[in-house]
Amino acid sequence: MSGIFNSSIGRKFAMALSAFFLMIFLVMHVSINFTSVFSEELFNKMSHFMGTNPLVQGVMQPILIFGVVFHFIMGFILEFKNKASRSVRYSKNSPSGNSTWMSRNMLLSGVVILAFLALHFYDFWVHEMTVKYIDGDMSGLMDPNNADSGFRYYEELREKFVSPLRVSIYTVSFVLLAMHLLHGFNSAFQSLGANNKYTKSLKGFGKVYSIGIPAVFIFIALYHHFTH
């Protein structure tokens, strides 16, 4: 196996594997978020579990962070190498005749997602880490000294979606995620060598996934914004 990740195909394997990981993570994330639309209690319980379970916090979270960082660094490396393989550009080029905009602009949609992730980390993750591991408050309660004050997660979530600016940024980012996935979902299968009699149906499923998941994220944001 030595050197496989130094080869062009190996780098694509790595890219596809990290992407699969992120796509599975998105399903989990959207499922938990969606509970906030119909049950404050369930959302609070799940958030508390995810936020305090040692397996989630100590093992899954570091793997996730590694996965994201790996994916976007590899994305930049690939883009850099690919640009370098053509030193003189065409005076006239019409790539829209042979490929989709999404497929040619994975880095662009990726960078928007990355900018969103930075905001997202600042909004939720930095706050969570500060409360839990710096202030040492693992209770998940609105008032750590009052057991009856209730969990804080749901209220914090509602709070974030008050600002129309934040909701707009959120929406635009998820539209870009949908575009990233509209090419990426099937691309990841092709990278791993899966192109067979199931590919056609998988393309259909890919479309549903790529539009469906971001759409639910957007719905959740709009729901909390307009019911606040």
Partner: protein, 248 residues
């Protein structure tokens, strides 16, 4: 037809090169694209100017030499043809037509529209063959049974003419469709099994060393390929490569 041509002119590999404009009158829509260039070249020769250098040989879509990027597309606007199979009826009177060489670091321009595609030859030499004992006791080819499906799929892959349109049209100048086709044509047949692992490892290594880009699966190559080589060949190569690496 009256045409304005914007053609890449470059004296030699070191020259910086530039787009030069030419006007042409009286072009018949029934001419092939290369005949149209022949007409222009005759006019240049008559005026004691340097004719435009371009590659061509068979002029019937089988040698893969006629490499030109026409109006932003490899081999021009039509699908599944080479430039020699392109006719002027695909354009309109008064059109402006850009004609450029393949652009890829691994395909350096030699002169005008002629590029050096020997990178493909070196990839082929790295593993695109089978070793057979030809010392007089070769067996009858029909002794080796091959399923119709495998024979057909291998034949489809083998129709690649090595033209390089896949590289030229790929935003990453990736050669994955060419190499995928060459790997597949052997991987699908029993004769190719013996050297399968070495073949894919060596051909991919050579492909990377030549400076072709990575594949983003945009699919531009498949659309521009004059022989309709399918992306399935790239997926097959990826599988072969993974298999070969797992074997160690």
């Amino acid at each position: 037809m009256k045409l304005t041509l914007k053609i890449w002119r470059q004296k030699d590999a070191k020259d910086r090169g530039k787009i030069v404009d030419y006007q042409l009158d009286d072009i018949s829509p029934d001419m092939s694209f290369l005949e149209m260039l022949d007409v222009l070249n005759q006019q240049l020769i008559d005026k004691d100017q340097d004719p435009i250098a371009f590659d061509h040989d068979c002029r019937e879509g089988i040698c893969g030499m006629c490499s030109m990027y026409i109006n932003g597309r490899a081999h021009g606007p039509d699908r599944e043809i080479t430039v020699c199979q392109l006719h002027m009826r695909s354009f309109s009177d008064g059109d402006t037509i850009y004609i450029e060489p393949w652009r890829a670091k691994a395909f350096p321009v030699i002169k005008d529209l002629v590029v050096d595609r020997s990178a493909f030859d070196r990839i082929q030499q790295a593993g695109g063959f089978i070793s057979v004992n030809t010392s007089g006791n070769t067996q009858d080819a029909n002794n080796i049974l091959i399923s119709k499906h495998a024979a057909d799929t291998a034949m489809d892959a083998a129709t690649c003419i090595g033209c390089g349109a896949c590289v030229a049209s790929c935003k990453n100048s990736s050669a994955m469709l060419f190499v995928g086709a060459k790997v597949s044509q052997y991987a699908l047949l029993p004769q190719g099994q013996v050297e399968a692992a070495d073949r894919v490892m060596n051909m991919v290594k050579q492909m990377d060393e030549e400076g072709f880009g990575n594949c983003t699966n945009t699919g531009a190559c498949e659309v521009e390929c004059p022989k309709g080589i399918s992306l399935e060949n790239i997926a097959r190569m990826n599988r072969e490569y993974l298999k070969a690496n797992l074997k160690g």
